[in-house]
Amino acid sequence: MKETAKPIRHRHDVVIVGSGLAGLRAAVEVAGTCDLALLSKVYPTRSHSGAAQGGIAAALGNEEPDSWEWHAYDTVKGGDYLTDQDVAEVLAEDAPRAIFELEHMGVPFNRTPEGTIAQRAFGGHTREFGKAPVKRACHAADRTGRVVLDTLFGRIFRSGIRMFPEFQMLDLIRTGNRISGLIAYELATGRVHMFESRVLLLATGGFGKVYKTTSNCFANTGDGVYRAYRNGIPLEDMEFVQFHPTGIHRLGVLISEAARGEGGVLRNRNGERFMEKYAPAIKDLAPRDVVSRAIATEIREGRGIDGNDYVHLDLTHLGEKKLQEKLSEITSFARIYLGVDAVRQPIPVQPTCHYMMGGIPTNGDGQVLDDQGRAVPGFYAVGECACVSVHGANRLGCNSLLDLVVFGRRSGRNILTELPHLDWEPVSDSSADPISERIFHLKSASAGNRMAPLRAALQEIMMNLCSVFRTRKGLQQALTEIRDLEERSRRIVIENSGSHFNYALAEAFELESLLGLSEVIVCSALAREESRGAHFREDFPERDDENWLKHTLALHTTHGPKLSYKPVTLTRFEPRPRTY
């Protein structure tokens, strides 16, 4: 007998999916003015924004002279000139206001002796257009994301919104050119819900879980990005995947760039401070793509520690007091997971997948753009799931939290303007049928391929063939293997037919996202025959502005992603060779 229980229906003016900083900041803007629902696959305070450590960038000039123009320049150069400069200007210029706003909401920032917000140096952030590092990162020790998340989470109680925690989005409902709602799975009960909305905002985060070694949490599987893709939205610049230079060896747990911002240095097996070679001007504070490539090169050339696949992050000269006051979280990670006392011993680190520059294309007001570049009415995306593109080919540290609060707010404001002009689209119960049937089949399948080995194989392929260094041959092999896994994943068995907290079922849907997004990453990387930012092709090691100063767009077809390109918006910064 077939289980096609009717979905439980909900109707809200605005539905936000994802409760990290982007979703919460947008919610703060909208709450109290209309009927708002917030869905999250984890409880809001568990969102991965909370794992951000080092800080949030803004040219406050509290510690030394700074200007938003320098910040905009650093953002553009950090992005290897793939950044859209009009929105980079918005990001940098709006940053001080955004920080003051967070402070007024109660974020417990560290302070200068004068009582203003303390700032520290961070990778790629410089004064006078690249002359020397500048202190631009506002922070709360090394748990900045966590305290901003807690603050925004507390704040949304002020205006009262409907929260649906542990609801996993399974698909969007598309009606003509509108996205009229979504289908979600309630983890606690196993029931299928249908949300109708006039405005839908995706703030579903990244998908670092396509890689074996990642700083990302288990929830970061790109559900929002994948469902947008499957519903006709092209994905932008998916080949640009950031590897953070300093993940804890083997685990990939993040050791913040703040460690180097506070004076930490990287050393190879000979004790050499090797970044002097790769970035003579700003050394260990070079952008992440540069440092990750440097570490990978040292390891390849046999200068990893004892010839192994890691180098050392040396904080021993910073002293116990500074580590305790400014870097206590990462000091505790080193102690718990490696048994390393960072006060006295260097920390073994290696690059770890950290951030997706690509995603759902949007304009500077968070509106999702279709394959013709037109804003889709009532459809928004913010944060790591979106591609504005302020981060271009490589995001600077501390620009991510900033992106979330700046564009989260802008989206919220635009939603309030657009909402009165949007009608409800009729949505029938049958929209949920394909999902309900898929759930039924997954639960009832008694034989097939187990899910976990398929996922592990995918993560291994992506790690080996599509990470810091890439080649045509490797990417072609990756594509073949991913498509083979995709084929095998059609006959998966989850071995759990239960209704309550059936994580096996949830992970089956996530695997679909991971496979689909990996294919887009690899196809986009294969086509881009140049090296720019985080995308490094060994067979095309130079940046090629003549042919490739353009954004990739990947549209879903039954034969795989169809690629096209769109120009980069240049305003005040002419592309130049990128050296540090």
């Binding site: 305070t45 009582g115 966590r146 990670f333 907290f501 059936n502």
Partner: protein, 233 residues
């Protein structure tokens, strides 16, 4: 290392009452208990339920009772086990929804009632409010809270008095009482000045021992008690 896991199981849909199930697993010394749980679920029993997300002690999802002590499965390494037996149970005092998953709503409700945002009396200035480094430092320890509820699960008073707001909610009360930007200090203190508030705490110090982020929870509660005593005639 050959490990033997005994895990609390309960599915209200099918089980009359909870039971324990045994699993065997070969693990590396550096593996986290969470890694072991994941392997059990992925390789042996897909019906097992527990919450997790960041896997490095930041999100607060995987608080549970490990060999009788409340802690995070992702911060507990195999090599730190006293022997090869691992007993995993849900956090005490919370209602079990499924296996190791408990209903955390009562805790979040306590936090919501604080209320959990700063309430200054004046309009915000153009720039940041000024706060001395000394005032900011008062919050250094309490803002480490990740709401994992290990402290609440470890507190012996919770078993005797289910109405006790619990140590986690008091840590959050502290966070706002001692924020120099908040002007509702007295109101906030009065809110925890009752038999089920700070006065329910009798200094067992189990919360402090359990806290995976090393927050001196009991000390914070005692400082709140002193602050109340100071303002009372």
């Amino acid at each position: 290392m050959d490990l033997r896991f005994r895990i609390f199981r309960y599915d209200p849909e099918t089980d009359q009452e909870p039971y324990y199930r045994t699993y065997f697993l070969v693990a590396e010394p550096e593996d986290r208990i969470l890694d072991c749980l994941n392997r059990i679920r992925w390789e042996q029993d897909a019906t097992l339920s527990y919450r997790m997300s960041c896997a490095h002690g930041v999100c607060g999802s995987d608080g549970m009772r490990i060999n009788g002590k409340c802690s995070l499965a992702c911060q507990h390494l195999v090599k730190d086990l006293a022997n090869f037996e691992v007993l995993l149970e849900p956090l005490p005092f919370f209602t079990v929804i499924k296996d190791l998953v408990v209903d955390m709503d009562p805790l979040f409700k306590r936090i919501q009632e604080l209320p959990p945002y700063v309430m200054p009396s004046d309009d915000p200035p153009d720039r940041e409010r000024i706060q001395t480094p000394e005032d900011a430092a008062k919050l250094d320890e309490v803002i480490r809270c990740i709401l994992c509820a290990c402290c609440t699960g470890a507190c012996p008073v919770m078993g005797e008095n289910p109405e006790y707001v619990g140590p986690a909610a008091l840590v959050w009360a502290y966070r706002f009482v001692f924020d120099s930007r908040d002007e509702r200090e007295q109101e906030r203190l009065q809110r925890v000045n009752h038999p089920n508030g700070v006065w329910a705490c009798v200094n067992h110090f189990e919360c402090t021992r359990a806290c995976p982020k090393h927050i001196p929870v009991t000390k914070c509660i005692n400082i709140l008690k002193r602050a109340i005593a100071t303002v009372e005639p």
